[in-house]
């Protein structure tokens, strides 16, 4: 581990931030760490834009009728919020930022398998982002991020451009996934078998499976939608003999697995943070690893639970509901395993661990409220109400965002070689927890009482809860702003981080903080399990011998 590493070894090369400075060198770099950082700031920019849109939406909903904008503008605002947050923020967030930065380090590799493809994925992301933003000049998009036909094929504005943007962004996601799979298979450090992989890698690998298998279907769906708009090809248009519900099958075949693209990486981060700060081996390594893969594969069999009231057949509804419940099992297993990891550990409540606990609580609510929506009869009542809005914000926005922050605070010393202000970061974490729950808990109640989603005007009976939610959104925004400011403020200091500030056991802590361009001075060799926190770690080879 890094603390055992000879300090002289770490500084024979300049670190990756100091070497080859200058904008041009950054834009042409193939270094996975630099690409990860460029993703970080790109995603952060769009998160701020999407977040501001959310604040504007919440402000509009302060009163039952018009508050600050017209219905047309409101519809465009929530569509842009949804599209930006889904395609530009949450899907790339953890894989493209933390995955790109940490996955090769965790594997003891010098880079991902296809570094140029990795850079290409960033450029494709930028092109897609530019296209998405350009829809503003084309009159905006008012379809909702789900682009349901036939509304999306008949409304005006920049729908085609937005759809093509999502298509392009899909390729960015595919490139990242492809890289992670090939890297995990072919670039593991000598001695690192599949069950010595850090669980973050398992999580990323499972995510990548979904990215590879599902994203192309989104691509073709969106192309068909553009074709329908331009050529009236007829597949989704009932007037031309098409089936509008078919679009929903196509769309959710990608977009349901995509929610696991959002949550699996979050779980992956947890599996690193919790053992490190509990100073104890992860509980149930194989259970966590296999449950990631199980979620990824099962995720493909449940897409139509978004369509229980969409005019699907009774039988299809029953089967999809039945299978959906199986997703609950691996999710529950993971949560129990993390808690069991903390059990009898030595829990250090540093900022990443606080975020992890924050995640556990929010994910528990998010996961359990999923049961309402997986179950047929209750889903009929709750579908397309604020209950659904709140549920998916808990699992997609809350869990993902908090896990991203956990990972950022965890690897920040590795990324920039600097420690942040612990007190301020703790306050930010607390504010985020309070703000998030204040924003979204009232939405559960609103939803179950019948408040439909995507409503510009609403009945007076819901106003109290809307006001509570809006006030919550301000607390949440304050928390996020403080977290960002704390991290940024740390960059003004000189580099002060030691290679292994948290006493982690995985490979990245053996590299310098920040690492050199090729990551390690010497290629690491995997001898001990990545979670062996014993006083005298036992080599894997010996452990296996004694097992037989």
């Amino acid at each position: 581990m890094a603390d055992a590493m000879t300090p002289t070894a770490a500084h024979s090369h300049p670190d990756y931030l100091s070497e080859n400075k200058g904008l041009w060198n950054w834009l042409t770099t193939v270094d996975h760490k630099r690409i990860g950082l460029m993703y970080l700031w790109s995603v952060a920019t769009f998160m701020i834009i999407g977040g501001l849109l959310a604040l504007v939406i919440r402000l509009e909903l302060l009163t039952p009728k018009q508050t600050i904008m017209s219905a047309e503008l409101y519809n465009r605002a929530f569509t842009l919020h949804g599209a930006i947050m889904t395609f530009l923020v949450i899907i790339p967030a953890i894989p493209a930022i933390l995955g790109n930065f940490a996955l090769p380090l965790l594997l003891g590799a010098k880079d991902v398998a296809f570094p140029r493809l990795n850079l290409a994925s960033l450029y494709v992301y930028w092109i897609g982002a530019a296209m998405a933003v350009s829809t503003l000049l084309l009159g905006g998009v008012d379809t909702g991020w789900t682009f349901y036909t036939p509304y999306s094929t008949t409304t005006g504005g920049g729908v085609s451009m937005m759809v093509l943007a999502a298509f392009v962004l899909g390729f960015s996601s595919i490139f990242t996934g492809l890289n992670f799979i090939a890297t995990t298979h072919k670039l593991r450090a000598p001695g690192m078998g599949w069950f010595q992989l850090p669980l973050f890698v398992w999580g990323m690998y499972s995510t990548a499976i979904i990215q590879i298998l599902a994203t192309p279907v989104l691509g073709i769906t969106l192309l068909l939608l553009v074709m329908e708009r331009v050529f009236h090809i007829g597949i989704f248009d009932p007037q031309l003999g098409g089936d509008p519900v078919l679009f929903q099958h196509f769309f959710w075949f990608y977009s349901h697995p995509a929610v696991y693209i959002m949550i699996l990486p979050a779980m992956a981060v947890m599996s690193e943070v919790i053992p490190t700060f509990s100073k104890k081996s992860i509980f149930g390594y194989k259970a966590i690893a296999f449950s990631s893969v199980a979620i990824a594969l099962l995720g493909f069999l449940v897409w139509a639970h978004h369509m229980f009231v969409a005019g699907m057949s009774l039988f299809a509804g029953a089967i999809f509901s039945f299978l959906t419940f199986f997703i609950a099992i691996p999710s529950a297993i993971k949560v129990f395993n993390w808690i069991a990891t903390m059990w009898r550990g030595s829990i250090d409540l540093k900022v990443p661990m606080l975020y992890a606990i924050n995640f556990l609580l929010i994910f528990t609510i998010g996961g359990l409220t999923g049961l309402f929506l997986a179950s047929l009869s209750t889903d009929v009542h709750l579908h397309d109400t604020y209950f659904v809005v709140s549920h998916f914000h808990y699992v997609m926005a809350g869990s993902n965002m908090i896990a991203l922050l956990a990972g950022l605070h965890y690897w920040w010393p590795k990324m920039y070689g600097r420690m942040y202000n612990n007190t301020l970061a703790t306050i930010a974490c607390t504010l985020i927890f309070i703000g998030f729950n204040a924003t979204f808990l009232p939405q559960f109640v609103m939803g179950s009482r019948g408040m439909p989603r995507r409503y510009y005007n609403y009945l007076e009976q819901f106003q109290t809860m809307h006001v509570a939610s809006t006030i919550g959104s301000w607390i949440l925004a304050a928390g996020l702003f403080l977290a960002l400011a704390t991290l940024l403020a740390s960059l003004r200091k000189p580099k002060d981080a030691v290679p292994n500030p948290w006493n982690g056991r995985t490979f990245e802590w053996e590299a310098g903080s920040p690492p050199i361009t090729h990551n390690f001075e010497h290629t690491p060799v995997c001898i001990y399990s990545p979670y062996d926190y014993r006083e005298n770690p036992v080599p894997i080879a010996e452990e296996e011998k004694s097992a037989h």
């Binding site: 007037q239 089936d243 149930g284 099992i329 556990l360 009869s377 989603r453």
Partner: protein, 313 residues
Amino acid sequence: MNWFRDFLLPKSAASNTGDVDGLFMFISWLTVFFFFFNGGLIWYAVRKWRRRSNNDITPHITHDTKLEVIWSVIPLIVVMFIFFWGFRGYVRAWVVPNDALEIVVTGKKWVWEFEYPDGSRSLNDLHVPLNKPVKLVMHSEDVIHSFFVPAFRIKRDVIPGRYTELWFTATEPGIHQVYCTEYCGRGHSDMLARIFADTPEQYEVFLREGDEQVRKMPLKELGKLVYENKGCATCHSIDGTRGQGPSFKGIYGHELKDAAGKTHTVDANYIRDSILNPQAVVVAGYEPIMPTFQGLLREREILGMIEYIKSLQ
């Protein structure tokens, strides 16, 4: 514990809601329980095993198969139980009773149109009898909408190009809110309707005189509505063109000859008789094909028809 249910759910007003509410509350309590269970475990662990020094020694526990099986199997049993409970409710909501009163619902940007079995129509207000199953056969004229009645715990998408159905038996008298829950553009949030669950007396009034909209409508407009909705327009034109029956244009106050050559003056009584007993007098040159509208039109609608024809000079 009813306060929790009343806090989370709107007041139930239909026959099938008990099952849904039961399941909803079951999962709600499950959620509350597990939130505090997990939260409690974390709280306990953090309090008890907080790091005291950097040299803390922790036990090396990698897994515990028995424990892991337990916490996989128990959730599995619970969710399977939930599945079957939810499935049962779904099937009940799916299978429509045979004696259900059929209402045809048309969704279009951004109104709900209801067509009753007698062919009369209304916008955004639906009258149904209490304690009698009602079946809604729904379709859309433009984009996908969704018909949602929170008090009945029912919802189904309304799709262009095909029909979907939905049924309920209202058990609480009063007005129940209907929402459109599938995003359909600018007026999505204003695409509201109301279901009036009428007591037998109220429903009787409704059947006799129509709903509030119709009762308040001027007679001439009501007549126009009847003319358009009840099939008059198929045979009788209003612009003087000859159809299966005589045109209504300028007919009022004029004289007509029947097949036997007898002369009749078109006045209120003549129109009433022609609607209720059309075969009695058939105008010369036309086939006796008009069906009777006895029982199909309300008294006020006949008066409206007379006013409408009177206005077509």
